[in-house]
Amino acid sequence: MAAARRVVVTGLGIVSPVGVGIKHAWQTLVEGGSGIRSLVAERPGAGYDQLPSQVAGIVPRSSSQELGTFDTKALLMPGDANRMAGFTQYAMCAAQEALADAGWTAPTDEQRERTGVCFGTGIGSLDDITANHDQFRAGGLRKISPMFVPKILCNMAAGNIGIRYGFYGPNHAVSTACTTGAHAIGDATRFIQYGDADVMLAGASECSLQPLALAGFSKIKALALGFNDRPQQASRPFDKDRAGFVIGEGSGALVLEELEHAKARGAPIYAEVRGYGLSGDGFHITAPPADGAGAQRAMRSAIRSARISTAEISYINAHATSTPLGDQIENSAIKSVFAPAGNLSPADLPAVSSTKSATGHLLGAAGAVEAIFTVLAIKNNIAPPTLNLDSIDAESGFDLNYVPHKAQQRTINAALTNSFGFGGTNASLIFAKL
C-alpha cells in the first residue's frame, strides 16, 4: 500500500464561551479568562432558578459587532436565523472563519467536488423540538413550522455549510455525544487519506443550554453543584473540590487539507493531524470502567497510527470535565499509557491541562474546540492553563503537571487531545508540527 496521504490543518474558526474568533478566544484562554457565567443572571425568567446547577459556559452575544461576541446580524445571512437552529448558526460562523483563515473558496467545480464537510452535533436542537411541541399541543398541525424538521436534524450544520459554499464532496455528520467533535475531525482526516476529498471542513457544534438539558444532566448527577454564586470557580478539573461538569455551548471548525494540496497553493499550515484512535468502553451508558481501559485503547491507537513515541508528546488536552470519577480515571489512563512501568518522573511526562476549566463542557463541540486549542498550543508553544486548580489531590494519583492557573511556555512538537462520550465512545487525536 502506498504511503498514506498526509493531512494538515490550514484554517481555524471558533464560537466559544471564551470568545468568538480564534484570536480573541485563544488570548482569553491563555490569559486565564473564563467564559462561565450564571444562567439565572444571563437569562432571567427562563426557569434556571428551579434547577440545582445554574452555571454554564455561555457564548457572549451582542448586537453591535463587539469584538469576540456572537452577533447574528453581523455573522449570518438574512434569513439564516429563521432557517437554522442555534447549533447550525454557531457552525456557520465557525466555518466561515476557518475557511477565510485557510483562504479556501473552492472556486472551480473540480475543487468543489474535492471539498467536503464533516460536522456533527451531540444533541441537535432541543429549543426547536420543545418550541414546536408546545405549538403542536396548543394549535395542532397548523402551528408546526415547516422549518421544524430541517432545523433539528443533527446533520444540518454539515448540510448548511455544504450548501452555503457549494461543496460537492462528502457531507457527513457524526453524533457520538461528547466525542462528536473528535470523531468528526478524525473521520474527515481519514476521508482525505483515503482519497475521498482533498479538503474537509471538520468540526462540531452544540447549542443546548436549555433548562430541559440541564434538568436531564442534573438527574444523572453530572453537573457541578454548589457554585451558583461563583460561576467562574465551578469548573475545576483535577482539583480536590471538583463537583461535576459545567455545561457549555459553541462550535469549532478546522479546515483539513492534504499536505501537497496545501503546499501547492501556499496555504498557512498550523500543524499536521498525525494520529487518530477510537475505542468503545463496552461497559456502561454513562460511566467509564474504573481502569479507564477504553481511554487507554483510544490513546494507544492514536499513538500507533501517528507512528510517534510517547516521549515526543509534550502536551495533553485532557477530556477532564471536572467530575470526581471521570478526571481520576482519565488521569490514571494517561499515566498507564505514558509511563506504563511507573518509572518516569512527572517532569518527564506531558503537561496535562483541561481547558474545560475556562469554557465548560461543550458536549458535542468539546472535541472540536479542544482540537483547536491543541493545535494552537503546538503552533504557539504554549500549554493553556487549568483554572481553579487550587488544591491538587495527590493522594488520588494526581501527580502530573496540570498547568495550574497560568499558561506555560514550553516546546510542544506534538500534542494529544482526548474525548470521551456517553455510550462509552472514546477518541484521541494527535497533532504535531510538520
Partner: protein, 126 residues
C-alpha cells in the same frame, strides 16, 4: 419572521397556554386595525389596510428581498422565498388576520397579490 417565531416560542415557554399565543405583529397592529374597523362600514378590512399589513408581515421576514416588495411580487421569483418559506409566510398571514387558511387554498397563494385577494375575500379576517 425570526422575531415572530421567537416571540411565539417565548410565549409558549412563559405560559402553558391552551390557546395559541398572540403574536407580536398582532399586538403591535392592534390599534390601527381597531381604527379600521371603526371607520369601515360592515367590519370588513379595506384593501389598503390588508396590503399594508401583508407588507408588514413580509417586512418582518428577514429573508425577503425588501427592494422587490410590491403588491404584485412573486414570493419565489421576486422575494427569494422557497416553498418552506412560503408556508411560513402563509402561516404568518393566518396569524396576522386571525384566519385559518385550508391547505389547498394556501397552496395557491404564491404572490403578494394572491395573498391580498385571498384575505379581501375572507369576511372573517380581522
Amino acid at each position: 419572521m425570526f422575531r415572530l417565531a421567537s416571540f411565539r416560542i417565548a410565549a409558549a415557554i412563559r405560559t402553558a397556554a391552551p390557546r395559541p399565543a398572540v403574536s407580536l405583529v398582532k399586538q403591535r397592529l392592534a390599534m390601527p386595525s381597531m381604527m379600521t374597523r371603526w371607520y369601515s362600514a360592515g367590519g370588513a378590512l379595506t384593501r389598503d389596510t390588508i396590503k399594508e399589513r401583508i407588507f408588514q408581515v413580509l417586512q418582518d421576514f428577514d429573508k425577503v428581498n425588501q427592494e422587490k416588495l410590491s403588491d404584485v411580487a412573486d414570493f419565489n421569483k421576486d422575494l427569494g422565498l422557497d416553498s418552506l418559506d412560503t408556508v411560513e409566510v402563509v402561516m404568518a398571514i393566518e396569524e396576522e388576520f386571525s384566519v385559518e387558511i385550508p391547505d389547498d387554498e394556501a397552496d395557491k397563494i404564491t404572490t403578494v397579490k394572491e395573498a391580498i385577494d385571498y384575505i379581501t375575500h375572507r369576511e372573517d379576517a380581522h
